[in-house]
């Protein structure tokens, strides 16, 4: 089975795509074309395969009926993706625009090096969430893994749950918001008191994905900036182990 068009109207069509064991290029071409044309796509039997729905453009919407593998939605510049299951490593890696929702848990490096758009994980996110993030937003309703925000250059990572160790390690201008407990801060990461308007902006982001973050005791993690310029007297800061 390949792409199956339902409905007669040229607009708002629902396209069903089976992933299963079919060649990934075919699957992705069908998804990409439908999303670019603004359709709704349902992908059945994704079977945790890698690289699904990469490089999307346009205003369409994809729903995966099951878990996806690595790099789902990566390098996309548009489209909306919903994963009705879990996602593997590098979900939305290099995303520049668009929206990804993972209804389950996400693996390591969600939104790695992303440059824009929004990634919303309803469960937990694995280690190195938002590693080398440049811009855009990541919202995690559950917990975030260790080394979240590692070397993040910009953008926001907002976690309603708890953070594992080494959060915000070696940050540049990225910011990690943690609503729960922080197990341990990373090298050169500091917690600062957020401004009221910054909290309002976070609330606005959360509201935009239908999440209520009110009443949380936000910890805003930013760079202490000691690693930004190497000086011999700070050498101990660089010893990571």
């Amino acid at each position: 089975m390949s792409a199956l068009l339902q409905g007669s109207s040229a607009e708002a069509q629902v396209v069903t795509v089976e992933a299963a064991d079919r060649p990934l290029r075919e699957v992705n071409r069908e998804i990409r074309e439908a999303v670019a044309a603004g359709h709704r796509v349902e992908v059945v039997e994704p079977l945790s395969r890698h690289n699904l729905a990469v490089g999307l453009t346009g205003e369409g919407h994809v729903t995966f009926r099951g878990s996806v593998g690595y790099y789902c939605g990566g390098l996309s510049a548009g489209g909306a993706i919903e994963v009705d299951g879990n996602s593997g490593w590098g979900t939305g890696e290099g995303l520049s625009a668009g929206h990804i929702t993972v209804n389950g848990n996400a693996g390591m490096s969600v939104g790695a090096a992303m440059r824009g758009g929004t990634i919303h994980v309803r469960g937990n996110a694995g280690p190195r969430c938002g590693v080398a993030q440049k811009a855009g937003d990541i919202v995690v309703e559950g917990d975030i893994g260790y080394s979240t925000g590692f070397m993040s250059h910009g953008g926001r990572i907002v976690c309603l749950g708890n953070s594992r160790g080494s959060v915000g390690d070696s940050l540049w201008e990225g910011v990690v918001w943690v609503g729960g407990e922080i197990e341990r801060l990373g090298i050169d990461a500091v917690v600062v008191t957020p401004e009221a308007e910054e909290v309002a902006e976070v609330d606005e982001l959360l509201a935009s994905v239908g999440v209520d973050g009110s009443g949380l005791d936000w910890k805003k993690v930013v760079a202490g900036q000691k690693l930004w310029y190497f000086e011999a007297r700070d050498a101990k800061q660089w010893l990571m182990i």
Partner: protein, 306 residues
């Protein structure tokens, strides 16, 4: 030298004998671990030398005051190299016997164990299964690996799983790369251990076996390896009693596990597990630093995430 940065590692437990009707030669369904004697799997580079080599191997067995306990068998693929299988009685000087056999031209022992049998060849899983009847093997636990050769030879003998020469029933599959490989290799070689490959994964198997021979439990050995072995690794160590897992402090190499009433399946990537479980199933990701786990043959689980 590496164990395949993009290699795939998996282990699955199947409660039944393989049913696939594969071609000859029959790899017999193995019974529970032998009370005495060993099953030996070997590799010979030159098929034309098979008869002579098997005779020499048999002579070396008899020189130990032991003997074969069954007819040797081998693959009849006609390829230049050949894999053979023998069953032998007790080998009092096992290490010396292994050294003797591997001194024969083009000969390497792939495994020795009460129950361990290592089968490895070039080709994808279906080809290797068709050639060696892997799916006909019966047992409680198994390791498999599809290797992308990066820093050592493309050859059956450079492939995973590696046997922990000369320790019976210990083997390994490993995803990652050790950075203090040569240091440890020199150290172990000074103690008399030999390595048949330039592959760092082989070293991890021997390293753990040495710890355990010195009295460490499997769990203690796994934890010690996280301190002593430097680099990136997630490895599965197969022993007679089950499988141990350890991963390094950076935990960059993944491991996904399904633990269901019908068995346990472990793989590097979740998509491999989907070949067994196409419907939704709970996937456990071991993605934290310094994790260890032990899956025991008798299903008594102990594990620790440090």
């Amino acid at each position: 030298m590496t164990g395949a940065p993009s290699g795939r590692t998996s282990w699955s437990w199947r409660p039944r004998c393989g049913t696939a009707a594969q071609t000859r030669p029959a790899s017999p369904c193995t019974a529970p671990p032998r009370e005495r004697g060993y099953v030996v799997r070997g590799y010979l580079a030159d098929r034309d030398a098979l008869d002579g080599t098997l005779q020499q191997v048999t002579d070396l067995v008899r020189a130990q005051g032991s003997d074969l306990t069954g007819e040797p068998s081998w693959d009849e693929s006609g390829q230049p190299h050949v894999l053979f299988r023998m069953e032998v009685d007790e080998l009092p000087g096992l290490k010396g016997w292994v050294d003797g056999v591997e001194a024969l031209p083009g000969t390497e022992i792939l495994s020795v164990g009460r129950s361990l049998e290592i089968i490895k060849d070039v080709g994808d899983a279906r080809e290797v299964d068709a050639k060696h009847g892997v799916s006909r093997l019966q047992g409680t636990h198994a390791l498999s690996n599809m290797r992308l050769a990066t820093e050592s030879l493309v050859s059956p003998i450079a492939s995973h799983p590696f046997w922990a020469r000369p320790f019976p029933d210990v083997c390994i599959v490993h995803n990652g790369q050790l950075t203090n490989y040569f240091t440890w290799r020199r150290h172990l070689e000074r103690e008399g251990y030999r390595f048949m490959s330039e592959n760092d994964s082989e070293l991890i198997a021997v390293w753990n076996s040495v710890q355990m021979e010195a009295g460490a439990s499997l769990g203690e050995s796994l934890s010690a390896s996280q301190e002593q072995l430097d680099g990136v690794f997630t490895y599965l160590l197969g022993t007679l009693d089950g499988i141990g897992m350890a991963k390094d402090r950076w935990a960059i190499k993944p491991l996904a596990v399904v633990d269901e009433p019908d068995g346990i399946a472990i793989a590097t990537e979740e998509q491999a597990l989907r070949s067994l479980y196409r419907d939704e199933v709970s996937i456990i990701n071991y993605d934290g630093p310094l994790m260890t786990e032990i899956w025991r043959r008798d299903a008594q689980r102990e594990g620790a995430a440090a």
